[in-house]
Subunit: 253 residues, 2 copies
DNA sequence: GTTGAATCGATCATAAACGAACACAATCCG
DNA sequence: CGGATTGTGTTCGTTTATGATCGATTCAAC
């Protein structure tokens, strides 16, 4: 059986049962455990399931009021990839800011294995993803809740961020260009992002390649605000060197 | 049976009974007691149950953020009744504090029809109930998130409450008596409650009758802190007059 | 209280599962 | 044809789940 059919079969099996094991498919398809593990890993990246020791369970996507509507989300795979890359920069014991937004939200699932992590965020989806993991301390930036963003904003929120300092900040934007810096579609959001970046030692910008060298309408900071730009695919080498000049590293995997 | 199934089964069993024992699962799953103990320990960390000698009991924690909380909550009907009564005191245009806890959480659904309401709370379940109603502005008190209470606590949270003033505070406690005042099982929770009450013009205490004239271990305020006590059934007229002397009205419907 | 049985949790040992790296074959494409 | 890509299997060191041991703790009966 070919790879595609195998994956379809796996998903079908998962619809009928709560848990599927690696070994059952090893028998059924006559392939090695490694192959099944790879299949499951890819399906996990796409958000179809969650791997567990020995197999996998259904993706819990439903039921969490604070989670984004993932089925219809665009660029989902790219976001997953960016976040997976970004999670490599999170170390045990870190204190990190996590900005709000649909990209940053996906970072949560890649950091739940870290130890003694402290996460400071204004995003409700991030909180609800992390709340059940005792190895992670979550601090929520309070303020006025904006329902369509599912996050806290406003002067209180901004002021509160100033009371914390983090090792790393993971932020999102709507556009970035060497000449015009970081830009956002929403001013209140930009102010939160700016504060988080300002109170962290190292700043990681997570954005998909479509936003690079594009500007959104509210420009709020020079590119020097960030240290690392993480995106999902190779970028023009000319662009890379432009950012390099500003001491910004672009990372794609 | 694999680990994942085991845990799900354990939680299912806990939904049907008050107490589950380690030994019953040792028999059912053919694993060692140590394994079950480890399972229970992990489930406790995530806030799904509370371990006791020989097994575990249900967690008090509320939460509509989680997939399998359809368990039958204790005293649920009484809490509903108390909250329905309390909602009668909420008026259009009010600014109100809502404390955290399983009783106060139920207040949300009775106030969603009000107009121009502003709700200030440290409870995540309350936020998630109200977030989709545009007629209600929600302000979340940030701070350290405590997973089993699903709310924010700590010095930041306490300080933040001081920055707000509300028309009314709706609070909960674990015990109240004329002589010893309000008491709580948890000190950090008491401090939040105290701040909310202190920053509101009128204070409504929501508690079921089993807590009246009972003391919990941390006494944190005299009964004069509150203005109105809302409970679910008729209280002894002697008690009513004792509270009346302190200018507290007891309301039962 | 005292005592004894049951339970608990820290620790160690073991087997299974895991993933990174490398190797190999099949396929694609200039 | 030859290089690149893709899918798979193998190896091997690491991680995870589990069970066993054993002293400490808890509970209940006295």
């Amino acid at each position: 059986m070919v790879q595609e059919n195998r994956k379809k079969y796996i998903l079908k099996a998962l619809n009928e049962r709560e848990f599927i094991s690696v070994n059952e498919f090893v028998g059924q398809f006559s392939v090695s455990p490694m192959t099944i593990r790879r299949d499951l890993s890819e399906l996990e990246d796409k958000g179809f399931l969650i791997r567990k020791y020995g197999g996998a369970v259904k993706s819990e996507a439903v039921g969490n009021m604070f989670s984004f509507n993932s089925r219809v989300e665009k660029n989902r795979e790219q976001k997953e990839k960016i976040c997976r890359t970004a999670s490599g920069f999170v170390e045990d014991g870190d204190i990190i800011f996590v900005d709000c937004g649909s990209t940053l939200f996906r970072l949560s699932r890649y950091i739940i294995k870290k130890n003694r992590l402290k996460v400071i965020t204004n995003s409700l989806p991030v909180v609800s993803e992390l709340i059940n993991y005792s190895n992670i301390k979550v601090t929520f930036i309070g303020g006025d809740i904006v329902s369509d963003r599912k996050a806290a904003y406003g002067s209180t929120a901004e002021k509160l961020i100033g009371e914390y300092h983090a090792d790393k900040a993971f932020i999102g934007i709507d556009g970035i260009s060497v000449n015009n810096g970081l830009s956002s579609y929403d001013e209140k959001e930009a102010r939160i992002t700016l504060r988080m970046a300002g109170n962290a030692d190292k700043v990681f910008l997570l954005c998909d390649s479509s936003k690079i060298e594009k500007d959104s309408f509210y420009r709020f900071a020079p590119v020097s605000l960030i240290d690392v730009l993480i995106t999902e695919q190779e970028v023009d080498s000319k662009i890379i060197s432009n950012y390099k000049e500003k001491n910004i590293t672009i990372i794609t995997k």
